[in-house]
């Protein structure tokens, strides 16, 4: 469960990224958050992973108040939310296997468990033959699949995907969305931030539209309306 109660984020008096946003996302939902560039979508993601702090209001995941999370607890929070970025954010000097394993290593998981889990998630995204490759040796779609594998490795209940298909062609976009849909089918909550009209319309899931830092529509089975 994710809830935002009257959340605002202001960088200064003139720059307001989010204003009085309230929303509630049930466990297992797949929600698309759409909006134009600068509408506040990415700020919302940053608030959820504690990269930014809300200026006012409350952000809760489960019964954990993210607005009050201590700096020391931020790594714990991030290990429990899978995050997918448009620019992949893979470690360039690590192989596919090492990138995925790193997410477990930071959490102090045992080498035995890492050897067991990492190949499993890499297989889920179909990269079992490319485990020893470095990110620059992969296509954009493959890199994004590595990111999905990394986000899955903790078996999180929530995955936040910020423009995951922004740098991909139509075929790779469809593949990534299919993978995310399958993950959602297994009960993981997916928060998909996108401005890709086709993706949103194809999913036929809940769509929240943000404009000027405010929620302007929230449809249970919506379409891209901007």
């Amino acid at each position: 469960m994710i809830s935002l109660e009257s959340v605002s984020k202001k960088y200064n008096r003139k720059s307001v990224a989010l204003e009085d946003v309230s929303l509630f996302i049930e466990p297992g939902e797949m929600v698309s958050i759409v909006g134009q560039s600068g509408s506040g979508k990415t700020t919302l993601v940053k608030l959820l992973i504690a990269e930014e702090r809300a200026s006012s209001g409350r952000v809760k995941i489960g019964d954990w108040d993210i607005t009050r999370v201590s700096r020391r607890d931020v790594p714990l929070l991030r290990r429990q939310i899978g995050v997918i970025f448009q620019d992949f954010k893979l470690l360039a000097k690590k192989t596919v296997y090492e990138n995925v394993a790193f997410a477990l290593q930071v959490a102090g998981e045992s080498p035995f468990r890492i050897r067991e889990v990492v190949p499993e998630v890499i297989e889920i995204v179909g990269l079992q033959d490319k485990m020893s490759r470095y990110p620059h040796q992969l296509s954009g779609g493959e890199q994004q699949r590595v990111v999905i594998a990394r986000s899955l490795v903790h078996r999180p209940k929530i995955i936040v995907a910020d423009e995951p298909t922004g740098n991909l062609d139509a075929i790779n976009t469809q593949e990534i969305i299919d993978i995310l849909s399958k993950i959602n089918d297994f009960g993981t909550t997916i928060l998909l931030v996108t401005h890709n009209k086709d993706v949103v319309n194809h999913l036929r899931k809940r769509v929240i539209t943000i404009h000027g830092g405010q929620i302007v529509s929230d449809q249970q089975s919506g379409k891209y309306r901007l």
């Binding site: 954990w64 020391r72 429990q80 470690l91 000097k93 790193f102 959490a107 903790h154 209940k157």
Partner: protein
């Protein structure tokens, strides 16, 4: 610390455990070799800076030794009147020896002084003939005094320059050597001042260059740092490999510098040997001070690299 684990119930452990410690070392080794060109350039910069510092040390050691050698050759001679009684001479010798500044005294009897005079002027028959003409030894005893520092000579001369001793002491050579001592003192002070200024300047340059080298190295990896933070790494887990790499950089640069310094100094030693008739001057200095030189340089570079890495990373760890 109570953390509500709402998503997964695995054994979360935020502590810097032994397993994490070994992983940090593993990542440090991996990063060191995978960013080899960066590691190489960092070590090269450290080696060049350390070589400059060691060149300065060599300059100081050679300069100080040169001054010591010149100082060592300076003394004052007190010439007693040939009519002075043994009792009076003994009193003055005892008085001079009682000064704590006096390092060494050499007393020469009138016969020894005459013998030396004859030897020195063996080629001058006129002087020798004049001496023979006199029929007796016209020279008195001599006391050669050496003090710990050139500045102390003035105290000794002032102390014996009293009316009671005027008939006993014929002359002293201090007047002749005073100018030389003054010069030596001036040179010593200038060399010290130049050495200190150079040390401060080199130290500052070394600090700025090493600090910036580490900063640039961290800057090139700022993206990696933020990614590690985003996937849930603690500050220590991110910082650790860089700190360990700083230790690698320090140890390797100190080892390479030590080897090069020994090699270069051993090449210079034959030249110093010709001047000072002292074999392996710089090598011996290095060997006898190796513990101090290595430990002080290691500590300085280690503190500097770790401090620079920590400071440079601080802004990227905020994400």
């Amino acid at each position: 610390m109570v953390v509500r684990l709402f998503l997964i119930s695995s054994q979360e452990n935020i502590d810097f455990s032994m397993l994490s410690f070994f992983r940090v070392i593993k990542f440090a080794i991996q990063d060191f070799f995978r960013n080899f060109s960066l590691s190489f350039m960092t070590i090269l910069t450290l080696v060049l800076m350390l070589l400059s510092v060691n060149a300065l040390i060599a300059f100081r050691v050679v300069g100080q030794h040169a001054i010591e050698m010149v100082e060592d050759q300076i003394n004052i001679s007190i010439y007693f009147s040939h009519t002075a009684s043994d009792e009076h001479i003994s009193e003055i010798v005892g008085f001079v020896q009682s000064f704590p500044e006096v390092e060494q005294t050499t007393f020469k009897t009138p016969d020894q002084v005459l013998e030396e005079f004859r030897t020195q002027h063996a080629a001058n028959h006129e002087i020798l003939a004049s001496l023979d003409e006199l029929g007796e030894n016209p020279l008195g005893a001599t006391l050669i005094v050496k003090t710990n520092n050139p500045e102390d000579y003035e105290n000794i001369i002032t102390a014996i320059d009293i009316p009671e001793y005027q008939d006993i002491i014929d002359a002293q050579t201090f007047g002749d050597t005073q100018a030389a001592i003054e010069n030596i003192r001036n040179i010593t002070e200038r060399v010290e001042r130049v050495s200190l200024s150079l040390a401060i300047m080199f130290g500052l340059i070394a600090f700025i260059i090493i600090f910036n080298t580490i900063r640039v190295a961290i800057y090139t990896q700022r993206e990696e740092i933020s990614i590690k933070k985003l996937v849930g790494a603690t500050d220590w887990f991110v910082k650790g490999p860089y700190i360990v790499q700083s230790i690698f950089f320090t140890v390797i640069s100190i080892a390479v510098t030590s080897y090069l310094v020994m090699f270069i100094w051993s090449r210079f030693d034959p030249y110093w040997g010709l001047i000072w008739h002292q074999a392996d001057f710089l090598t011996n200095y290095y060997n006898s001070n190796i513990l101090f030189l290595l430990s002080s340089q290691t500590a300085a570079v280690l503190v500097l690299t770790i401090f620079s890495a920590t400071l440079a990373m601080r802004r990227y760890l905020r994400t």
